[in-house]
């Protein structure tokens, strides 16, 4: 490892209606936050297949975030509840692979919560920075 501070590579799956819009609001409000989170837009957090999470870790992600509408407010009624269930089960499985619970995170960010998105990005980045890089990823390690 080099002398520089470790910059975590984070992947975020954001639902279009709430979280993506909330992140957009953080942008239009010119809020500054850590640039480590790369966003993939899906229509609903319920679209997030566990295989996406595994693929992200495999490709080199140090942390994965799923963000959706608050429970009860899902644009498609219930998709975020499915995301919640999948997150809980997948977390357990990932732990058995040796991936710490903290690396896979689920957040609810509404369309008005630009500030919350900023906070989540910054916190997640610092948390993973402390945790360090993920020590396995099938050999596709990034320097």
């Amino acid at each position: 490892m080099s002398q520089q501070a470790f910059e975590p590579k984070l992947v975020g799956f954001l639902c279009n209606w709430c979280s993506y819009t909330g992140a957009d609001l953080a942008g239009t409000a010119r809020m500054t936050y850590a640039p480590n989170l790369r966003i993939i837009r899906v229509m609903c957090s319920g679209r997030v297949d566990p295989q996406f999470v595994l693929k992200a870790f495999q490709e080199g992600a140090d942390g994965v975030l799923i963000s959706g509408c608050h429970p009860g407010d899902c644009h498609y009624q219930e998709g975020n509840y499915k995301a919640l269930r999948r997150h809980r089960l997948l977390s357990k499985m990932l732990e058995q692979f040796g991936i710490e619970k903290e690396r896979f995170r689920l957040e609810w960010v509404s369309a008005a919560e630009g500030a919350k998105f900023q906070k989540v990005c910054n916190e997640f980045t610092e948390q993973i920075r402390h945790l360090g890089p993920l020590s396995w990823n099938g050999g596709k390690k990034n320097e």
């Binding site: 899906v42 229509m43 297949d49 490709e59 998709g79 369309a111 008005a112």
Partner: protein, 585 residues
């Protein structure tokens, strides 16, 4: 039909008509005191006596309760009738000299002073029995009646004691012609009201004079009919027979294609700022309460008065109550500066009071607004730039005694000032209306940080929401004044109409589809779909997506074990490619 002659006029009337009613039809005036068209006649005052020629016999009868007979000849002003009438009125005047209607008829008949002894010069009760009849026939409470006889006769509840039968409806006072019965309004001018009609009103009423729709409602809690089963005078007088006490709340289901939410605002609750003394000081009122006060159809007829009925000599108007405040609402409520200026102008017009206007900024953004502010500057209102810290009634000097003192930092001068006034108007801000959070949940609408409904785009789509077919108009979306509300309402209406008018509907092409070859018919997707867009085809043993119902959430795709279900434009292979793309160096 019966033929009669009254004062020489020939008349034809229906059977059962009384002489008084016939006279009314012939436009002949007969004075009355104890008669009321809505009550059974009692004929106690004897003022309506007329001379009647019936089958050759002449006699005096009371016209209010005597029915006409065929061939009757009636003289309302004959010498005998007039003599009897004058005597009766003279006696009534001696009994109740303070009764104004009796005085009026006495004057008309040329009676100056009764020749009989006046026992009680202040008495007003003429024993007409209207109150008793009202309580019996209209209200049905039977709480009062005549007691004693002769000179001692009077109206009273049983044994002269307050009766439980009395329901406090004040109908007796309403029907009393001489104000012998009055009621005390035990509410003083309370300015703390949930509904803004400050002032006494009837159980059936229009909420305010400018109500839309302009239709009265029945206040079930105060309506006599719901207490005693009687009255229903409103039903009797309504020509259109439009009143129905049996109406019950109904829930009606209407199928529509688009919905416009225009649920409005409510005022910031001034109780939340205890330092301003709202609720403690009766002369600290909110903006809406002042609007009602100054309205010509309001409780004071538009006069600006303090709680004790006097005119204020100094008024303070405080801007930004609950707005632009990190302790309450951070946003600016947009309308308060302008309405505060309006108030200052109205107070100047209607009273001699000194006016102090406490502001942070003057937000006069609209057409003619700045020019109006300029006019105010010349009118003599004193503008003080600073936030008011508190309103107190504890005086430090003699001139502050009995006043409300406004404590404020005058930022332009750079000192803290104490300004004594008589009335304080709080320019309370706007908050989303009463059913806001319920509506948000029912329609699945998001709210922005200021808690108003979220528009699809702050600049480019201010009337639509993220749900197709649901539009926003007015202050439920953000604080705004009347011109902006009207403009937004027009926009929302036209977008809703355009939707209906198109005849076709555009769907986003991001629906899910199921590959027949890969689908195993496990039906996991069927139960997951919140819109019931997937059905199981029993013949083919596969599941199928109805594209018209599919909203494109992709939940079924994530759950499909075989990858048969895919979402157009969000296919697994596409998202996987995105993930790979993130890590390409």
């Amino acid at each position: 039909m019966i033929q009669i002659t009254i004062d020489g006029k020939k008349l034809e009337v229906e059977e059962g008509t009384t002489i008084l009613q016939a006279a009314e039809k012939a436009e002949i005036h007969i004075p009355t005191l104890c008669y009321h068209p809505l009550l059974e006649p009692y004929a106690s005052c004897r003022v309506c006596v007329v001379e009647v020629n019936r089958q050759g016999k002449k006699e005096l009868v009371t016209s209010c309760n005597t029915q006409v007979q065929p061939g009757m000849v009636i003289e309302t002003q004959s010498e005998r009738a007039l003599r009897a009438r004058k005597l009766n009125v003279e006696m009534l005047l001696a009994r109740a000299p303070a009764a104004k209607p009796v005085q009026k008829i006495a004057l008309e008949l040329g009676i100056e002073k009764p020749r009989f002894e006046i026992k009680d010069p202040d008495r007003k009760c003429i024993l007409c029995g209207l109150c008793v009849r009202t309580c019996e026939q209209v209200v049905g409470a039977n709480a009062i009646s005549f007691i004693n006889r002769g000179q001692e006769r009077e109206v009273s509840p049983p044994f002269g004691e307050p009766s439980e039968a009395c329901i406090g409806c004040t109908a007796c006072a309403y029907f009393c012609p001489t104000e012998a019965i009055t009621f005390e309004d035990i509410h003083d001018r309370k300015v703390i009201h949930d509904e803004l009609y400050l002032g006494p009103s009837t159980a059936i009423r229009v909420p305010v004079r400018q109500a839309v729709p302009m239709v009265p409602f029945i206040d079930e809690d105060n309506c006599i009919h719901f207490k005693t089963g009687n009255c229903q005078l409103c039903v009797k007088v309504c020509e259109k027979e439009a009143i129905n006490h049996e109406m019950k709340e109904e829930e009606i289901e209407i199928e529509v294609g688009s919905i416009i939410l225009a649920s409005g605002f409510k005022s910031f609750d001034a109780y939340r700022i205890p330092a301003y003394g709202y609720g403690r000081f009766p002369n600290v009122i909110t903006a809406l309460e002042f609007e009602r006060l100054v309205n010509a159809s309001g409780p004071t007829g538009g006069k600006i008065l303090l709680a004790n009925g006097e005119e204020p000599k100094a008024v303070g108007i405080i801007h930004c109550v609950g707005s632009r405040d990190e302790n309450y609402n951070e946003y600016c409520s947009r309308v308060c500066c302008m309405y505060s200026l309006k108030f200052a102008h109205l107070i100047k017009e209607k009273t001699e009071a000194d006016i102090y206007d406490f502001y942070i900024d003057m937000r006069c953004f609209g057409k003619g607004y700045e020019e109006f502010y300029h006019r105010l500057l010349h009118e003599g209102t004193k503008f003080i730039r600073g936030r008011v810290s508190e309103i107190t009634d504890i005086p430090l000097t003699e001139e502050e005694d009995g006043k409300l003192i406004i404590r404020v930092e005058d930022t332009l001068i750079g000192t803290v000032r104490r300004i004594p006034v008589d009335m304080v108007i709080l320019a309370t801000g706007l908050e989303p209306g009463l059913s806001h959070s319920e509506l948000a949940h029912t329609f699945n609408i998001s709210c922005s940080q200021d808690t108003f409904f979220l528009e699809r785009h702050p600049k480019l789509a201010p009337v639509s929401t993220f749900s197709d077919g649901i539009f926003l108009a007015g202050t439920c979306q953000a604080p705004k004044d009347i011109p902006d509300t009207v403009a937004q309402a027009g926009a929302a209406a036209s977008e809703a109409l355009a939707l209906a008018d198109k005849g076709s509907f555009e769907l986003e092409p991001i629906t899910a589809e199921i590959d027949e070859k890969l689908c195993a018919g496990c039906q996991i997707c069927v139960s997951l779909c919140p819109f019931s867009a997937i059905t199981y085809n029993k013949e083919k043993h596969i599941s199928e997506v109805n594209e018209a119902l599919c909203k494109g959430c992709g939940t079924c795709v994530a759950a499909c074990p075989s990858g048969a279900a895919q979402q157009k434009h969000f296919r697994d292979i596409q998202i996987m490619a995105e993930i790979e793309g993130i890590f390409i160096d």
